[in-house]
Amino acid sequence: MFLTGDIHAKSLGLLAPELVLVAVSLLILVLDLVWKERDSSRLGWISIGGLALTSFLLLLAFGRSGGPEHETAFALVTIDRFGIFFKLFTCAALAVVIFFVMQDRRERKSHIGEYYFLLLGAAIGIFFMVGTNNLLLLVLGLELLSLASYSLAGFHKAERRSAEAAMKYVIFGGLSAGVMVYGISLLYGLTGTLDLRVMAGVAQGEGVTRSLAQAITESPGAVAIAMVMILGGFSYKMSVAPFHFWAPDVYEGAPTPVTTFLAVGSKAAGFGALLRFLAVLFQDGGAAEAVRAYGLQVGSLLALLAAVTMTIGNLAAMRQESVKRMLAYSSVAHAGYLLVGVAAMTSEGFEAAMFYLVAYYLMNLGAFGVLLYFSGETGEETFDSLDGLGYKAPLISVAMVVFLISLTGLPPMIGFLGKWKLIQAAMDPALDGRLLWLVICLVLNSVVSLYYYLRVAKHLFLKQPAERSVRPAPALTGLLVVLAVLNVLLLAYARPLVEWTSASFDLILR
């Protein structure tokens, strides 16, 4: 493929958000060396400013895109609303995470420029991961995200738990990367292309390419192995069983802001890439009947994984003594809930999963923020360390209760609407009630989760008030209260949000 100068300039223009992010991350690295100052929070604000600028550019791109033909930069990066949705999500999540880093009382204040640099680097990885139809760039983006995450998990390398978390993350990350790349190599051998759209037969590719439909009829076994391996790679990023083993240990050992990023940003990126992979291969306009049927089988496999994941996550979360570990298992369970929408293999299901991700963002960022505050005050993360603190820090504790109710999925919080939409998608009449068992599983699991979520509230409010006093953190409290209010408010005014997620799902050209 030969690109002329004009196309280069146009491609660079389309990549403006990514370029801004790269520039800001390099600027952070240089400024950290040049300023040598005691307080690094200025660097944090620069990062947040960079993310705001990136979001602005993304919003402009969102307005421009949406036509039947997606623009591509360098024939690799697809600029579509679906990708922009996840990029905006990443920016929003990362801005809060960076704010958490600045508010973390257990973090040193100086020379942590590389903290911000690594977080922004992870975001660049996510941008390419969710913004491409090409498996090459998908692998590269995923690895960039992984490598930044390994270093972030081990950021307190002098602390044993942090180093151990990073070690486990590298080992399991390497395993899943190996499995995924091998699966991709099989798919490439079968079809002769790395471009998902060419593979699906939607776009024309050069040279010998077999469509996925042909590959499925000619060698179903090899396609099945390749699919399972690639889904395995995605499962690892989403912390879906059976690739969830790393999650509790890494989440517990990593610094809390990093845990927040892994639980929200990294998981959403995994879901974004998976949704695109499935939607382009199995749903796009021209997909043949054999491919659609195959997609439904993949859906059944995902339904099974969803049930296993949410059950494992919930049962393990009940037994934890550490709030952080409980939240880690809870995030595994939520990956299972999210998969319910994916398993339906309909665009309504995919939209429901995307909507649930927004709800998950609001409630999980909040819960981790509260944990960050309390563990910064008490130096511990156990349930017992929270005893009676609800009376010392009432505003934050009430916000925590809001987040917990939202995580359980009870009204009047947005978590309720998120679960409702997932159930609605799974009960779609087109599915003939095939996922009814999964819906029952989801509801039962939500009931179980009430137990361990309310346990936090019990320790906060129903235990003897603690002797210790806590220092106020006005900025963090303000952010958490805003998040809590949004949890309630967005249930009442959900329509624009729902419409926005629907508008973002433009992978299928209807």
């Binding site: 590269l140 151990e164 790349v181 002769g192 050992g253």
Partner: protein, 111 residues
């Protein structure tokens, strides 16, 4: 004479199997990292074998060789190197504290 593609794919599958087996059975962190490298290189071999298969067909059709597979393989080599660098750095950090590179040394975090 040339080696049939099936042989190359078979060799890749065997290498991948050895990598998985090593990953699951070995207790030494360095050997575990080596197993991961083996898996990634098995994937590379399989990518290059696939590219050769497609290229043979394309050259008959008068088109150039298929470069997608080899390009991904080159990127995977780079990624594997970085992954090894990060992994070894962490092993050194653990070794300084515990004087061992066994998997058992990373067992503080558990249920």
């Amino acid at each position: 004479m040339s080696v049939p593609t099936e042989y190359l794919l078979g060799l890749a599958a065997i290498l991948f199997g050895i990598g998985i087996a090593g990953f699951l059975t070995r207790r030494n962190l360095i050997v575990v990292l080596m197993s991961i490298e083996l898996m990634l290189n098995a994937a590379n071999l399989s990518l290059v074998a696939g590219a050769r298969m497609h290229s043979t067909q394309r050259l008959l059709d008068g088109a150039g060789p298929d470069l997608q597979g080899p390009v991904l393989a080159i990127f995977v080599i780079a990624v594997a190197a970085v992954e090894a660098a990060v992994g070894l750095a962490l092993i050194i950090a653990l070794y300084r504290r515990k004087q061992t590179v066994s998997l058992e040394s990373v067992s503080e975090l558990r249920d």
